[in-house]
Symmetry: C2
Subunit: 181 residues, 2 copies
């Protein structure tokens, strides 16, 4: 069985939202890219664009958590994990196209219901930080250090990605570990 219609819509939406932001993409554009009619969208996402955006953000969140876990799974030290993570992100940045932004920011900082969206972005971001913190602790950092390291890592991730986007240069992400330690 191939990918479900619902997933196809959500993935297509996630990709386009990352490129142009919530308000920068029209439903017709998403549907054309997915090759689906409007009826399917409103069948699977009764609340239209809002539901679609939330699902796309959830998808992007899971994907990012997966990437973080992947990077640290094979690492023997925290530093090593950080380095692997940023190299993976640099690859991802190139793959997505260097004009792409953070999916969560692009989707959830705009849109209707600003507070609901914003709250969700905080949940996701703090989830990433908690996830990193867990790996740091597992790899031998003290709890206090791990908390701080995780926050630093997240902040560098956001900042470096922004700079990489402006300069269209994935090396901004590859050089991030040097800045962190």
């Amino acid at each position: 069985m191939s990918i479900s219609t619902k997933d196809k819509l959500a993935w297509t939406a996630a990709k386009l939202f990352q490129e142009k932001g919530f308000d920068g993409v029209g439903l017709n554009e998403i549907l054309a890219a997915a090759g689906l009619p409007k009826g399917s969208l409103y069948h699977h996402f009764p609340n239209g664009k809002k539901d679609l955006a939330l699902e796309a953000a959830a998808l992007a969140d899971r994907e990012m958590v997966r990437i973080i876990n992947d990077a640290f799974a094979s690492a023997e030290t925290y530093r090593h994990g950080v380095s692997t993570l940023f190299h993976k992100l640099a690859k991802l940045f190139e793959l997505l196209g260097s004009h792409t932004g953070c999916p969560i920011s692009e989707i959830l900082f705009a849109g209707p219901d600003r507070n609901e969206f914003r709250t969700r972005s905080a949940t996701y971001f703090n989830g990433w930080i908690a996830c990193i913190e867990g790996h740091a602790i597992r790899l031998g950092e003290t709890e206090a250090a791990a908390q701080q390291q995780a926050e630093r890592l997240f902040i560098s991730l956001q900042g470096c990605w922004t700079l990489a986007r402006a300069n269209e240069d994935s090396d901004q992400l590859r050089r991030a570990p040097e800045l962190l330690f």
Copy 2:
């Protein structure tokens, strides 16, 4: 003589773009907020929304450079300057409303003419970094260290602002200096 019509339009646009992004704000909304008719806009900005966005971004850039220079002007050490800068930014974050984003990103990562806009964002961002680097050198850092410190500072600024926005918490910016040193 009071503020010119052109400036009023650009400032109003800058504020709204920061809150909702380039595609999230309509011209009518900007004009209503500025209390001006459409004719004025197209008189002062013949290319409409595009010109207005570029002018708003230029305004925001100058403002940020001013803030950076202010913070470091009275500083006796680089660290001291960094601390002052982040406290100023935390204040600004509260003043603008905690849903506000980086003006440059919000305006220049979206919009038409993606490449022209993106190039300009790179120019502004690298200008900020160069500006910080200058202060670092003036305050006794070596050139190599200054370059790296400036980049780290910029990255932290972007990352912390994002986290502050998600969590609606200006303290994310105030705590930034601790993460940097």
